[in-house]
């Protein structure tokens, strides 16, 4: 019954989506307003139906309705209720439904918020959204149906992959999907602008907050994914340049580039074609990512089992790329006549360079990710490139980006004068060089880390220096104190100060990555009871094994007493969890985190509970905590940038970006 309700909602929603594609075309041919109005109704109808379908699946999961195959595969009677709900995105079929659900929520919001505005643009925006929605609904209905029944009905289900039974898994996929889907909104506006040929800055200004919101979700999705990897996967790392991680990260690069380059278009009416291309690429990469994940053409720990879904996504991807760039070429004559750069030393050229670097990073990561496919096709040998390739190629690019982060927001538009450069950058440069000197004396002498830390210092100093100048000006002008001056500045220019805070967050993230990449230590050993392993300043003493039966699994813990230079930190107990449904155990690593360093313990084996012998791996990851802290700073910065402070009493308006 639940399955019937869910599946028929999907089918009817698909019909509405198809109507949403056709109606604007009929409307523009016949000139009848009501066809345009019905586009909106089609979106809202889809919203209700897809919500109903998703709710049915959640209901089936919660009530463990094992007559539905998806439920039988992803829950058991013993599964706690919140993991039954998260079973919605535990496997392919459900996660596609979740994607469609988020997409249609966003589309519904667009239809509702712009009810009376952009009369010319909106029908086409909604048509593009309906097209994307129709694709997902068709995939759900015909290629990967989450409501498929199973017979005979099993007594108990198979259960979720135990690695997914973690609180971060509750947030990671929805965040990432919200990021992917969020990019659909600016993409739809861009396409609509191309269709009606009105290529001023309206679509960019309108979608400003959407783009920033999508970017924020993408960033958070990736960070939570890294956190999950570090916290749960138990290998002590947070990023492996795995194809699926790359698939989630790649859209972030053009999205970040877009956030910067649209400011150049708003300000100087330059880069029109470039901005359209960036948003097309960003959107296409979200589809490409799903293709990569679901097709099974590249092996990855994240990959779901293969099926026809991959091919369908590839077809849709080709359709999107051909259609979008075809439309762009068709409208090429509307996009001419942009003024050129006045000077290489200006904010627009800093932003342009930032874009070039981001797109280069995208290109290198893309190439590395699909390299096994290229080599297989061209020379018939499978050649893959691993993490060393990605690290060696992207580190210089990202360092250049860090440098630009210190320059871009402070340098003048059009043409920076020598005075402007001296005023904004002399002191930050001097201060960061002093920093470099201190680090050098403090025995940080490898070139890349030294350069990295110096550039990070430069960014921080240039942001602080610029803000300090502005605060001083307000203090003199209005007699405000430091904090109220800061608050006024941030409220008057939300985008700028929000952006600067986000930059500080990025600085912290890069700091965490640099420290944990450049200075990590790993040791492994098999220890007898009472034996100790010394790693750096730490002394890790084995205190015995303990086995216990848990509700869903059997757990073996090894207790280790950890000392830092003789000072006791306490007992850390990494564990192995044995699930009855699984072939091999799941490790549960533990770590102790401080701002200076993480110590991370992995139990990789043990022999004879009675004999008390354990194989242990210890990792030291300096500065890693700053990476997560940087994520929080980005949350704060994004809130500062998009919070509707100034609209008090005027309602919420998406387009006032501040």
């Amino acid at each position: 019954m639940t399955a019937t309700i869910g599946y028929s909602s999907v089918l009817v929603a698909l019909l509405l989506a198809l109507w949403g594609i056709i109606a604007p075309i009929i409307g523009s041919r016949t000139g009848r307003e009501r066809f345009f109005a019905s586009t909106r109704a089609a979106i809202l109808g889809q919203f209700l139906l897809v919500t109903l379908a998703s709710s049915s699946l959640i209901y089936a999961l919660v009530t463990t309705d094992f007559s539905i195959k998806y439920v039988a595969f992803n829950t058991t009677r013993a599964t706690p209720i919140y993991y039954r709900v998260t079973g919605l995105w535990g496997a392919l079929e459900g996660s596609l439904l979740l994607w469609e659900w988020i997409l249609i929520i966003f589309s519904g919001l667009v239809a509702w918020i712009y009810k009376d505005r952009h009369r010319e643009l909106m029908p086409w925006v909604l048509m593009i959204l309906s097209t994307v929605s129709a694709f997902f609904l068709a995939v759900i209905a015909f290629a990967s149906n989450p409501f498929e029944s199973v017979f005979p009905v099993p007594l108990d289900g198979r259960g979720l992959n135990p690695l997914l039974e973690d609180a971060n898994m509750i947030t990671h996929p929805p965040l990432l999907y919200a990021g992917f889907v969020g990019l659909t909104v600016p993409y739809a506006f861009a396409m609509a602008a191309l269709i009606i040929g009105k290529l001023d800055e309206a679509w960019i200004v309108t979608t400003r907050r959407w783009t920033l919101t999508a970017w924020f979700f993408l960033t958070m999705g990736n960070l939570v994914g890294a956190w999950w990897s570090y916290h749960v996967l138990g290998w002590g790392g947070y990023w492996a340049w795995d194809p699926v991680e790359n698939a989630a990260f790649m859209p972030w690069l053009p999205a970040t580039a877009f956030l910067h380059s649209v400011q150049v278009q708003e300000r100087r009416r330059m880069l029109k074609v470039w901005n359209l291309s960036l948003i097309i690429i960003a959107f296409s990469l979200t589809i490409f990512g799903t293709f990569l994940t679901r097709s099974g053409i590249l092996s990855s720990i994240h990959a779901f089992s293969s099926g026809p879904v991959g091919t369908v996504f590839l077809a849709f991807l080709s359709f999107v790329l051909l259609g979008s760039f075809g439309l762009l070429a068709y409208r090429a004559d509307h996009l001419k006549g942009q003024p050129e750069l006045d000077s290489m030393v200006s904010r627009e050229s800093a932003f342009l360079l930032n874009n070039v670097v981001l797109v280069s990073a995208l290109f290198t990561i893309f190439l590395g990710t699909i390299f096994p496919l290229i080599s297989e096709a061209v020379v018939g040998v499978q050649v893959s490139v691993g993490a060393p390739y990605f690290n060696s190629v992207t580190v210089p690019l990202f360092l250049l980006l860090v440098f630009l982060m210190g320059v871009g927001p402070m340098i003048a538009w059009r043409m920076a004068s020598w005075d402007n450069l001296k005023r904004n950058f002399l002191w930050p440069a001097v201060a960061s060089l002093l920093c470099a000197l201190v680090l050098f004396v403090w025995k940080i002498r490898d070139f890349l880390p030294l350069l990295g830390f110096t550039l990070l210092a430069f960014v921080v100093f240039s942001i602080l220096f610029d803000t300090a100048l502005a605060v001083r000006a307000r203090h003199r002008l209005a007699g405000e104190g430091i904090f109220s001056a800061l608050a006024t500045l941030a409220r008057r220019n939300q985008r700028r100060y929000g952006g600067l805070i986000v930059h500080l967050g990025i600085v912290l993230i890069v700091l965490g990555i640099a420290g944990s990449m450049g200075y990590s230590v790993e040791r492994e050993a098999t220890l007898q009871l009472g034996e100790a392993l010394t790693v750096g300043r730490y002394h890790v003493q084995f205190e015995g094994l303990r086995g216990s039966q848990q509700p869903t699994h059997y757990r073996v813990e090894a207790a280790f007493r950890v000392f830092n230079q003789g000072h006791e930190l306490g007992v850390l107990s990494p564990a192995l969890k044995f699930f009855p449904n699984q072939q091999s155990p799941v490790g549960r690593a533990v770590f102790r985190s401080t701002l200076a360093e993480d110590i991370y313990l992995i139990l990789s084996g043990f022999s004879e509970l009675q004999q008390n012998r354990a194989t242990l791996k210890v990792l030291l990851r300096p500065l890693l905590a700053w990476l997560w802290f940087g994520g929080l700073v980005i949350v704060f910065g994004t809130i500062v940038a998009i919070w509707p402070f100034r609209q008090k009493g005027r309602g919420w308006r998406m387009e006032d970006g501040g």
Partner: protein, 148 residues
């Protein structure tokens, strides 16, 4: 036209730098994927390169020294068999009779010295077998079958 020329020069510099980066990164990190029989064959050009070799761990070939964390075993593709030496901790799913991918170099003595072992993950999770309780008394990576 000087402006145009400047852009062209800038473009060439960027593309050149990027090509250099990619080329350097690839040279350093390219991993050839081979099978044991390809490696036994004479004509493989990849012999002294960093390799990734896939196959099955031969039943009964696994010898391990837990104190020093060294593992010796053989990998086969059904046609040829290559001995492998490894020091470290293999992944949870690594065991005899299962698929594995090893990364490393092959020496002149024909022994493959692996720096990494990757086990083939089973994509589907097997349903529970009735009566198969899970009270592990010991666990060493690669031996999970022996669990009671």
């Amino acid at each position: 036209m000087t402006r145009r020329r400047r852009f062209v020069i800038g473009g060439i510099i960027i593309v050149g730098a990027l090509t250099y980066l990619i080329y350097g990164g690839m040279r350093q990190a390219m991993v050839y994927f081979v099978t044991p029989s390809e490696l036994k064959g004479q004509e493989t050009p990849a012999k002294d390169r960093f390799l990734r070799m896939g196959g099955m761990v031969v039943m009964g070939s696994l010898q391990k020294d837990l104190k020093n964390l060294t593992y010796q075993f053989q990998i086969t593709d059904g046609v040829a068999t290559i001995p492998v030496h490894f020091r470290g901790i293999p992944p949870d799913l690594f065991s005899e009779g299962k698929g594995a991918v090893v990364e490393g170099r092959i020496g002149k003595d024909g022994i493959f010295t692996a720096s990494t072992i990757m086990a083939k993950h089973a994509e589907e999770y097997s349903p529970p077998e009735p009566g198969k309780a899970s009270y592990p008394n010991s666990f060493t990576p690669g031996q999970e079958e022996k669990r009671p």
